[in-house]
């Protein structure tokens, strides 16, 4: 079983093994491809490993991001001003891989652009570009097979979201398809709005551990270094998206042009998050 052997040696698996050996949680940074423009995004993307990101989630922009709050909606809109396509996202990943062979990259988005490109073509090209995993927000396990078959064939991890509403009856169907790590959505809501509550996250992660031995990353509702440290204490990784994207939004002028030094500012904020997460010992 070469495919299985390969995927257990993936960047994601190796990264979580390393974090475990170092007895510390990981920091997952989310940025939307080409936000706020291709040049600034490239600087941010390429600087994230140095800033302490253990995994990078790259948003594939969609015109109708139904599970996202205002921050990531605006981020997608900024990206789409440059007509960012899946091809462009994959080109950015390929470009990144020339510099960094170790940091796992997870592509996150909605199904329609993938469906229109073709699930087989998408999986082949994402793997060839050097992506490691895929999150498709609006593809529950019931609808996932038509993409999953191609992700498996290309040794890409299919990373699934679980939510506070996912019941014990429902979790096995999700986990049966999940690989790499399991993503726990800490709030019942859209990205970047409510705050993740520590006690609820602790209980939820404990419940997930009864179903899986996969690493668990927690996201949605983590906005500050303190919150990231608190949450990361209970799981293998903390994911921050909207708060990073907000720093980008705040650094744009009326015409949407980035202020000088914006990428450094974003990376500085990412570093403060990474440092806080890494301070949370396991």
């Amino acid at each position: 079983m070469n495919a299985v052997a390969d995927i257990t040696q993936s960047r994601i698996t190796r990264r979580f093994a390393k974090l475990k050996a170092e007895k510390r949680p990981g920091f997952v940074a989310f940025v939307t491809a080409n936000d706020p423009n291709p040049e600034t995004f490239r600087e941010i993307f390429h600087g994230l490993p140095q800033a302490g990101a253990d995994v990078i989630e790259v948003g594939m922009p969609f015109s109708d991001p139904m599970a996202d709050g205002p921050s990531i909606q605006a981020s997608s809109q900024r990206s789409l001003k440059f007509n960012t396509s899946l091809k462009d996202v994959l080109a950015a990943v390929r470009d990144f891989r020339k510099l960094d062979q170790d940091t796992p990259i997870v592509l996150m988005g909605y199904y329609n652009p993938i469906y229109v490109m073709g699930p087989a073509k998408f999986a082949e090209q994402a793997a060839a570009a050097g992506a490691d995993g895929v999150i498709v927000v609006d593809l529950p396990p019931e609808e996932a097979e038509e993409l999953d078959v191609h992700l498996r064939a290309n040794r890409l991890h299919f990373i699934f979201l679980t939510a506070p509403t996912s019941s014990d009856e429902r979790l096995p169907a999700i986990i049966a398809r999940a690989s790499g790590f399991l993503y726990y959505v800490a709030v019942a809501g859209i990205t970047g709005t409510k705050s993740a509550e520590e006690f609820a996250v602790k209980d939820a992660v404990a419940r997930l551990r009864r179903h899986t031995s996969l690493p668990i990353a927690v996201g949605f509702g983590i906005r500050t270094p303190d919150a990231a440290r608190t949450i990361a204490h209970h799981c293998e990784a903390a994911v921050v998206g909207s708060a990073i994207v907000d720093v980008i939004a705040q650094g744009l002028n009326q015409e949407g042009q980035p202020a000088p030094g914006l990428s450094q500012k974003v990376l500085g904020f990412a570093k403060s998050l990474a440092d806080a997460v890494h301070a949370a010992q396991h």
């Binding site: 969609f62 015109s63 109708d64 991001p65 139904m66 599970a67 709050g69 909606q73 789409l80 007509n83 396509s85 899946l86 909605y110 199904y111 329609n112 652009p113 993938i114 469906y115 229109v116 490109m117 927000v137 609006d138 593809l139 529950p140 019931e142 609808e143 699934f160 979201l161 679980t162 939510a163 506070p164 509403t165 996912s166 019941s167 429902r170 999700i174 959505v185 019942a188 809501g189 859209i190 709005t193 409510k194």
Partner: protein, 406 residues
Amino acid sequence: MSKVEPRNSFRQGVDENGHFGLFGGRYVAETLMPLILELDKAYEAAKADPKFQAELTDLHKHYAGRPSPLYFAARLTAHHGGAKIYLKREELNHTGSHKINNVLGQIMLALRMGKPRVIAETGAGQHGVATATACARFGLKCIVYMGAKDIERQKPNVFRMRLLGAEVRSVDKGTGTLKDAMNEAMRDWVANVDDTYYCIGTAAGPHPYPTMVRDFQKIIGEETRVQILEAEGRLPDTIVAAVGGGSNAIGIFHPFLDDASVKIYGVEAAGRGMNSTAHAASISGGSPGVLHGNRTYLLQDENGQITDAHSISAGLDYPGIGPEHAWLHQQGRVTYVPITDDEALASFHLCSKLEGILPALECAHALAYVDKIAPTLPKDHIIVLNLSGRGDKDVFTVAEAMGEKL
């Protein structure tokens, strides 16, 4: 030679995950999946409960005013000199459109599920008004999401919703129309999963909505069948209805789908023309994709980004179509045809002057197709058109198109 019958019925419904062939399904975030499964269960239980059905029938009769008449449009028929034109008068229902049929069913379901807060999206405002009405009637809190552009062009309906006690939330994201209102409603639902019922107004969205909305709307076709048999002693030759998301259309089509002699036409909004990009004809000018919880025909670019729809009719200004229509198109059972803004406006005026009925701009599209084909058909040909809403809400839009200010 014997006629080739379809292997299965066109009314067979969906598979267990809500697929009409390639179309339909449940493409939603995990947070919503458990709710959608719960809704499916609750709906199946309600459907099988004679008490639920009896209460709904009672509301239809005494609150909404059903059955709606099937009216022979004698002057319109004479004007065209061809086929006999019947209008199914859904605009005479309480709140002025077919939307109340679905809303009464769903609000009773919300009550049954113990959800005190109801949210809805609306385009033309007809579904919003119907939802606000039913919520007032049953004492539920009601929040309606409506695109900023639609709020502007459907002012009377916005005020009606407020009078009925609903809160209308303006959505200025995207194009500020029905698609964006639906995104916002989904976001509200995902953030308020415990107490909220999402009352979708059209036969689209994740399963079970497309089938549930169709089930609540098929009373239109069931009544039509009885009424036309009474009036003419036979089934109609042609049925025509406007299609945005497609709830009024699937409502009148569904009971006739297995009657091969009945030709069925769904009329899409061609806006400024199919050669322009300013239209809302998902089947005539779109391709399959996934949006708002279902796979269906969508207006989109080559990268899978949803593109803007345009129609003079707010109710048709949507870049998708219900998945059952997508399937019926693919099966070749229903023919979908485009009608432009200008053609719809001309038919709006013709119907108003000849029949004394102001049709909603949505139905004016269906009327325009009938105005095209009726003169070419023999006098014993019977057309039934679903006049799904009244045009009072559209007087400002029509005035503007005429260059007048009210």
